[in-house]
Amino acid sequence: MSSNMIVGYIFITVGAIFDFFGCMGLVRLPNIYNRLQAATKCVTLGTIFILAGTAIVTADPAISIKAGLCAVFVLITSPTGAHALARGAYLSGVKLWEKSVVDKFKERAEEIKSQRGEAR
């Protein structure tokens, strides 16, 4: 077992642990926005760590380059998907958690809804 394999397996293990805590946040946290936040962050970083570990362990250019491309792709698309989902959830009528402190998005959401009502 060479040194690059040891480093790569450490990366993969750290990534899997981050994935696990992210999904634990998905189960434990009280409201959709908090869940989205915790899960998106942890699972994105965990998957990037696993991809980096794959690239290091195999040390084969055909696999490593594809793993790097896939990591870049996940890093770009995951936040985009997260804020599309957050916007969709708010506009579909899910309220913030009842202990939330401040909500500045309410008037904007009503503006969007009234514009859409006029368009129809």
Partner: protein, 87 residues
Amino acid sequence: MMFIYFIAGLLAASCFMCLYRIGHGPTAPDRSVAIDIFGTVVVGFVCLSAVVMRKDFYINLAIAWALVSFIGTLALSKHLEGRRFDE
């Protein structure tokens, strides 16, 4: 290689927690979030298979899965906003 089983067990536990949220989630957006996260966890799982089997087509599977999961997330969020897909 015992700890490969440990890593696979962690990822499987993550998948099952996502499945719990898909089945139990009180509202539709909760389920959509869980589906999105599930897709990303599966990308990690496929990469683990690539490490164990040493075949490079597993990485192609991972890339394709990440693409399809992203498109699916965007489609779900548009549906939640109440828009049609051609807007």
